[in-house]
């Protein structure tokens, strides 16, 4: 395990003071690799927070070229990158922000072709894709590899985060045994709501990697910013789940 340098101490000293985190937590984080499925309105601020905290390596899968209508929420993007691959903006922003972490961008979304390979390189994964097909694929591969998945989602003024520990807590397929037929690719979104879901997901990921606090595996953390209601819902594992029922 790589230990902390003098520069690390200088940069992270305020979070080294967090009880239960300290140098051990920082070292664990520095030696961890996170896979983030899409770095848009939700995955973008999630990557930002992981980068700020000093994660060792980020693998970011996100296809397509930047569009004007991405800019209300996708805070890793740059106005001068419209029309160019999103991963270019993502790389530039994160490298300028924290050049001490490794950033690997993949100009593809999670698919049957790449999911297993990308998950095999990670210690933890974060689901932030706008399609259930991608989320359920990521879930399947995380269950197969036995690594934590932090599924983060939003719609309108609400959002939720579901931390998943394969074999121990409900997986995404326990909840959604089939692709929900009514979900539409375009959804109403204000960036601050995405970022709220992202940062709840980021802290759950940091907790999962470092042992800080109490991980909320097996629960859905749901919030509704219209009324500022927050609640936690205990989720049941499906004993007949085709993805995780054989995992103990």
């Amino acid at each position: 395990m790589n230990s902390l340098t003098e520069e690390d101490h200088a940069i992270y000293e305020w979070q080294l003071d967090v009880p239960g985190f300290g140098e051990k937590g920082q070292e664990l984080l520095r030696n961890s690799t996170a896979l983030v499925s899409r770095a848009g309105g939700l995955g973008g601020p999630l990557c930002f927070s992981l980068a700020a905290a000093g994660i060792g390596k980020l693998i970011i899968a996100h296809a397509g070229d930047l569009r004007l209508d991405d800019l209300n929420r996708q805070i890793l993007m740059r106005s001068d990158g419209v029309g160019e691959p999103r991963v270019e903006s993502i790389s530039k922003t994160l490298r300028a922000f924290n050049p001490r972490i490794e950033v690997v961008t993949v100009p593809e979304n999670i698919s049957e072709e790449n999911a297993k390979r990308l998950v095999s390189e990670a210690d933890i994964a974060f689901g932030a894709a706008p399609l259930f097909e991608e989320r359920l694929l990521l879930n399947r591969e995380c269950v197969a590899k036995g690594i934590p998945l932090i599924d983060c989602a939003m719609f309108n003024l609400e959002g939720h985060v579901i931390p998943i520990l394969p074999g121990k807590s409900a997986c995404l397929a326990c909840l959604y045994p089939e692709i929900p037929p009514h979900w539409k690719r375009r959804f109403p979104v204000i960036g601050a709501v995405s970022a709220l879901a992202a940062n709840i997901g980021a802290i759950e990921g940091i907790k999962a990697l470092t042992g800080l606090g109490e991980s909320q595996y097996g629960k859905m953390i749901h919030f509704d910013t219209a009324r500022m209601n927050f609640q936690k819902i205990v989720l049941q594992r499906n004993p007949a789940c085709t993805i995780c029922s054989s995992s103990q």
Binding site: A128, A153, N156, P177, P180, W183, H222, I233, V234
Partner: protein, 93 residues
């Protein structure tokens, strides 16, 4: 008798409320309540919560008095329940 029905996601948008009080008759079951709500809120709502065969959709999360329930809850009696939360799946990112 009355029960509180709460919504999230697309259901909240379609129903136009996050929560409503719904009256039901003694002996009513979950399926009766959902049918009543489908009638009240229309076809788009109905399509989100029920299949064409009249079963609750497997992707609809049903939370009864704070407890997530798995499987077909359509025959559950309402008498001892106070709150039902219906959550449609969301994947905005």
């Amino acid at each position: 008798m009355e029960i509180t029905v709460q919504y999230t996601g697309q259901l909240a948008s379609i129903a136009g409320v996050a929560e409503e009080q719904v009256a039901f008759e003694a002996g009513a079951r979950m399926r009766d309540l959902v049918s009543q709500l489908c009638e009240r809120h229309g076809a788009t709502y109905a399509n989100l919560v029920m299949t064409k065969a009249g079963d609750l959709r497997s992707s609809l999360l049903v939370i009864l008095d704070g407890e997530h329930t798995l499987g077909d809850s359509s025959q559950l009696p309402l008498a001892n329940l106070r709150t039902i939360l219906l959550m449609t799946p969301i994947a905005g990112g």
